[in-house]
């Protein structure tokens, strides 16, 4: 194994191309928005790209806290990568700014007269979907996410340096309320940023579906990353085939959970067939978009279900890396299917959609690669590590 294979070197080498792709796509995207006449489309594409990439850090944060609470050897394989992901929220806060600029182009509730009309039959919604309250909430979400990511990373590093077992208790103690905060902020963030694009539509399952989108996407990404570094010490000690098996089983569970929630929401709305609710599925399930829905059914459920049921596949990291990569693309399609039909009754893919994913993705991966460097890929003094290493063999 040559020096150029070392995780830190690999990550450093990946930084530059990621940044080039990110900045290049961003410049093109902005140029298209200003040169071309369709400024609305810029924001629509941007919303899709942003919501998709937000799943990576949010899912990492959620999995990190889940591991602190429940333990389990699987967590040590991805913990440092989760922490790196959880340290990118400041970038996501900056990348939120274009949405703030485009708020009046994306959300019908910003139009003049909407609030007065809504106040007649839904006074709470009129207040909830007002710009000052919307921005206040956005600030709260980012403060929570940045704060949780910062504290969990900081204590984890101190644990490495000092070996103080108290750090582990601290992280565990923060993770319980942290997961509650994550659940609440993730739910209301997607209600604010995505669901309110259709201000007349509401589903109580919506937040949970996005929670699964977060953990599913992040788990696929983390499996992919971990597979690249799994041959290097100290990660090699914990990243055994059994651990990849565990991670694959978790990905399998999230696949099932996704199908369960998505199908339940559909069945209840389909059976109720109420005018206020069914429109959402009429846009997404009938006509041209039904092709996308069918693809999701096939590749977000049936195909991964049968692949991930296989023990030999889950134990081989190279194979799992490929599966994970496909599932990340499928997850992007899922987010696209949720976000975009609100704007277009027929499926259309714009060049800006691709550019937005590339721009935000490039920047996020650059930040992730930067954050993942310089720290050992497994925690050095976690009290539960020893047991994990023993059982991993």
């Amino acid at each position: 194994m040559s020096v150029s294979d070392l995780p830190d070197v690999q990550l450093e080498q990946a930084q530059k191309p990621a940044l080039i792709v990110g900045v290049g796509a961003a410049v093109l995207l902005v140029a298209m928005a200003f040169v071309g006449a369709d400024r609305d489309q810029f924001f629509r594409s941007y919303l899709f790209g942003y919501v998709f990439w937000l799943a990576f850090p949010l899912g990492s944060l959620a999995l990190l806290m889940l591991h602190h609470l429940t333990g389990g050897g699987w967590g040590f394989v991805i913990r440092r990568l989760c922490e790196a992901g959880a340290r990118t929220f400041a970038l996501m806060a900056v990348l939120f700014l274009p949405l703030a600029v485009g708020i009046s182009r994306l959300y019908p509730w910003t139009r003049a007269g909407w609030a007065a009309e809504a106040a007649k039959h839904a006074p709470f919604k009129a207040t909830y979907l007002s710009q000052p309250f919307f921005f206040t909430r956005a600030v709260i979400y980012f403060v929570v996410w940045i704060g949780l990511g910062y504290l969990l990373s900081k204590w984890s590093m101190e644990e490495d340096q000092t070996g103080d077992p108290g750090m582990h208790n601290r992280m565990e103690a923060l993770s319980a309320p942290g997961l509650i905060l994550y659940g609440l902020t993730a739910t209301f963030a997607v209600i604010d940023w995505v669901m309110s694009v259709d201000p007349d539509w509401m589903s109580t399952m919506y937040g949970l579906i996005f929670v699964v989108v977060h953990v599913f996407t992040a788990m696929a990404f983390l499996i992919f990353m971990a597979s690249r570094f799994a041959d290097h010490e100290p990660l090699a000690k914990v990243a055994t085939p059994s651990r990849f098996h565990d991670l694959g089983t978790l990905l399998f569970a999230f696949t099932m959970l996704w199908a369960y929630l998505a199908f339940s929401q559909f069945l209840i709305i389909w059976a109720g067939n109420l005018k206020a609710e069914i429109t959402w599925y009429v846009h997404r399930g009938l006509g041209e978009w039904s092709w996308v829905a069918g693809l999701l059914l096939l590749f977000h459920f049936f195909v991964p279900f049968f692949i991930l049921l296989n023990r030999p596949i889950k134990r081989r990291k190279q194979l799992m890396a490929k599966v994970a990569l496909v599932l990340i693309v499928v997850s992007a399609l899922d987010v696209f299917w949720i976000v975009t039909p609100s704007f277009f009754p027929a499926p259309t893919i714009h060049l800006t959609d691709v550019l937005a994913v590339a721009a935000i993705g490039g920047l996020w991966l650059w930040a992730f690669a930067k954050q993942a460097q310089g720290r050992p890929l497994v925690p050095l003094h976690d009290p539960r590590m020893e047991e994990a290493v023993e059982h991993g063999a």
Binding site: A122, H168, A176, S203, T204, G207, Y260, L267, G272
Partner: protein, 451 residues
């Protein structure tokens, strides 16, 4: 490392022999205690009350209950959902925790599974009794008949028939298959002929050979894999019973996961309610340790918070959607005629269980027992609120009404408690309450771990 992590799942000093002796003694050698007779006597009396209540019901019909338009689903559905929910913890402990390789489940899975089967038996009686003509229950199943009539497959009530009966079958099989090695132990240790014949018959010729064990392990794993989706599907279908309709308070998409979480919540509460007196009376503290109680308390805390999330989303959506009826439904729960039930439910399910955040509370056995009873009550109230408050205020005020249970409703409900506890007392007396063979495995692993 925190204290409860180091607390053992089996107390030190136990060997293969002591485990077998202690657990099989409850069935074989110990004298049946006065406490057992007292508990069994009370439970059996209540079972007789149940017989009285259903005899009266068959004679007079469902008119003896409090149900009437607009509230056509009273105690029968409330109790059905409550009992089915309780059952789920048993399957969760025995199947899902088995798949997750959680060793602490070993000592509580046997009686948790028994609880599942008895709870499902209680639950199953209610839809049958509610039919009015229970002798025609087979109309619920699709079978070729001269009238060419079929059940309405779009109705979740028909899905219930399939979901619950499959669940009951698989749970029973799982429980029985898991018990076979222990039944053989009892057969070998039984001192009288009746015992030898009885356990010998149930042990199905178990000899403990390597082939037997291999098949046993495979069967357990397969049944666990089958039972896991069934837990989710049963309570999901139960939630569809409500959510498929377009009644405010019922028709909301969060219902499936929120019902499943609520089921596990109430089920763990019931496991705690049963295990705390059981371990004390039969001195099983070495097997059902503080670690078990602590873990169960944590599961309750987590599932309780998911239930709270469900309440929050329901309330949020009522106001956010701006739907007149949805909003009225929530305000009616808060301030309408059933407000004491609603606020008691919030206190029992959301507020009081928050003390479980404290490690000290989780290590206080009496407090845990009280909280488990509180949660059981809260989950019953939740089903009462869902069923009654949504129905009693129809869309038009001219169709409004009130629902109060009659004495026959209460007798039937209390009667199923009698059925449940009668079965449970018989189980304690005649079958091994803790899986002996699995505990032996645990003794071995713990001994290996402490080298």
């Amino acid at each position: 490392m925190s204290a409860e992590h180091s607390a053992p799942i089996i107390e030190p000093g136990q060997t293969f022999a002591t485990v077998t002796d202690r657990i099989s003694a409850i069935v074989l050698t110990q004298k049946t205690g006065r406490g057992w007779w007292l508990g069994f006597g009370i439970a059996f009396s209540l079972l007789m009350l149940f017989n009285l209540a259903i005899t009266w019901l068959f004679a007079w019909g469902v008119g003896i209950w409090g149900i009437n338009v607009p509230v056509g689903w009273g105690f029968a559905i409330i109790n059905f959902v409550w009992w089915v929910g309780i059952g789920h913890a048993g399957t969760l402990i025995s199947a899902i925790l088995l798949l997750l390789r959680q060793k602490w489940r070993t000592s509580i899975n046997r009686f948790a599974e028994a609880m599942t089967i008895f709870a499902v038996a209680c639950a199953g009686t209610f839809p049958l009794l509610h039919m009015g003509r229970p002798w025609l229950f087979y109309w619920l199943t699709p079978y070729p008949n001269t009238m060419f009539t079929w059940p309405q497959f779009r109705s979740p009530l028909v899905w219930d028939v399939f979901a619950v009966s499959t669940y009951a079958t698989v749970s029973l099989l799982f429980w029985f298959v898991g018990m076979i090695p222990d039944l053989a132990t009892l057969r070998d240790r039984a001192r009288n002929l009746i015992g030898q014949k009885f356990y010998g018959f149930l042990a199905m010729g178990w000899r403990g050979s390597a082939v037997h064990w291999h098949r046993y392990e495979t069967a357990s794993l397969l049944l666990a894999g089958l039972a896991t989706p069934l837990v989710l599907s049963v309570h999901t279908v139960v939630s569809f019973d409500f959510a498929i309709g377009i009644i405010p308070g019922w028709h909301t998409t969060i219902f499936p996961p929120y019902f499943v979480a609520g089921a596990i919540y109430s089920g763990f509460a019931m496991v705690m309610t049963l295990s705390i007196p059981l371990r004390k009376y039969y001195k099983l503290e070495d097997f059902v340790t503080m670690r078990h109680l602590d873990n169960m308390a944590k599961v309750m805390l987590a599932t309780g918070l998911i239930v709270a999330y469900g309440y929050m989303m329901e309330t949020f959506s009522a106001f956010y959607s701006g739907d007149l009826y949805e909003r009225f439904m929530v305000l009616n729960r808060w301030t309408g005629p059933y407000w004491p039930f609603y606020w008691s439910l919030i206190a029992c399910n959301i507020v009081i269980p928050q003390v479980l955040w404290s490690r000290k509370a989780r290590s206080n056995v009496s407090l845990l027992f009280v909280i488990s009873l509180v949660v059981n009550t809260g989950m019953w109230l939740e089903r009462f609120i869902i069923v009654v408050t949504s129905l009693h205020r129809d869309f038009l005020p001219s169709a409004w009404g009130m629902y109060w249970p009659t004495r026959w409703d209460i007798f039937t409900y209390v009667g199923t408690l009698g059925l449940f506890f009668t079965l449970f007392f018989l189980f304690i007396r005649f079958l091994p309450v803790i899986a002996i063979s699995e505990m032996r495995g645990l003794v071995k692993e713990e001994a290996g771990g402490s080298k």
